[in-house]
């Protein structure tokens, strides 16, 4: 996985802040592969939050900018009350869930 622990911790903190304490986050796409270079940062979040998902996404992108700078970040969000879409299935099954170092 090509993220530093500092980056992971900032993602976890932002996820809980904007999507709730029960939210979980995965990194998927090329950044999971240590043998590759570059690439966008693709994130998948599962949340119990029902409304205000877009505003939460915007707030999270603004917050994590201080750590990631201008790197392109895409955030895919699934409300747990909805079934998984095909892309969400792929993100979750091929991705790595992010965990705190503590």
């Amino acid at each position: 996985m090509r993220l530093t622990q500092k980056q992971i911790d900032s993602l976890l903190q932002a996820t809980r802040l904007y999507f709730g304490n029960t939210a979980k986050i995965w990194l998927f796409g090329s950044r999971v592969d240590d043998s590759k270079t570059g690439g966008d940062i693709d994130l998948y979040i599962e949340t119990d939050k029902e409304t205000g998902i877009i505003v939460a996404k915007l707030q999270m992108l603004t917050t994590i900018e201080t750590v990631f700078g201008d790197q392109k970040i895409d955030i895919l969000v699934r409300r747990r009350s909805h079934p998984c879409s095909p892309i969400q299935e792929i993100a979750k099954s091929t991705g790595e869930e992010l965990h705190s170092s503590k």
Binding site: T51, G52, I53, I54, V55, K57, L58, L61, T62, E65, D74, L76, V77, R79, H82, S85, I87
Partner: protein, 169 residues
């Protein structure tokens, strides 16, 4: 303030495009007002005419953002004989001139624009929310165009009377 005529012509061309986009966006803004606030549950109930109006709004919102951020801001800096530098430098210069309220606000507007070209298919709830968030930020975007008009009039006594202000204060 004196200015280079060729660069002034470039600014005029770029700004004319931005102003045109702004007027179209304002028109779209009014045309979708009856649909706001938009909710995901109502999305599938929208008729073809309403969907077309929302699409037009989305495209025009992006067009104005792109026009201002990619061309007009840069040509203002060139006109004042400064080196444009990076996009970050240009936005800081626009903030300094009070053309944008703040660097952070412009970046937020940019993020809204980028959500329209998201790589992943969105749910109806998400599509509705993106459109509503863009709708509520439209005046902030149009005020940037008005700020340019007023700035250029102050700095260059620019003959831009043919660009009436868009937002009532």
């Amino acid at each position: 303030m004196a200015y280079d005529k060729k660069i002034a012509d470039l600014f005029y061309v770029n700004f004319k495009e931005s102003y045109r986009s702004a007027k179209l966006l304002l028109s779209s803004y009014h045309r979708i007002a009856h649909l706001m606030p938009l909710e995901g549950v109502k999305f599938h109930l929208l008729n073809a005419d309403d969907l077309e109006k929302l699409d037009a709004f989305r495209v025009r919102y992006c067009d104005l953002q792109d026009s201002l951020g990619n061309k007009t801001f840069r040509s203002i800096v060139l006109l004042e004989e400064e080196i444009p530098g990076s996009n970050l430098d240009i936005l800081n210069k626009m903030e300094k001139r009070k053309i944008i309220k703040s660097f952070e606000e412009w970046k937020f507007l940019r993020k809204i624009r980028n959500l329209f070209s998201h790589d992943y298919p969105e749910t109806d709830e998400d599509k509705a929310e993106i459109l509503y968030v863009a709708y509520t930020s439209t005046m902030d975007l149009l005020i940037v165009v008005d700020n340019i008009i007023q700035y250029m009039q102050r700095q260059f006594n620019f003959p831009i009377d043919s660009f009436p202000l868009l937002v009532e204060k």
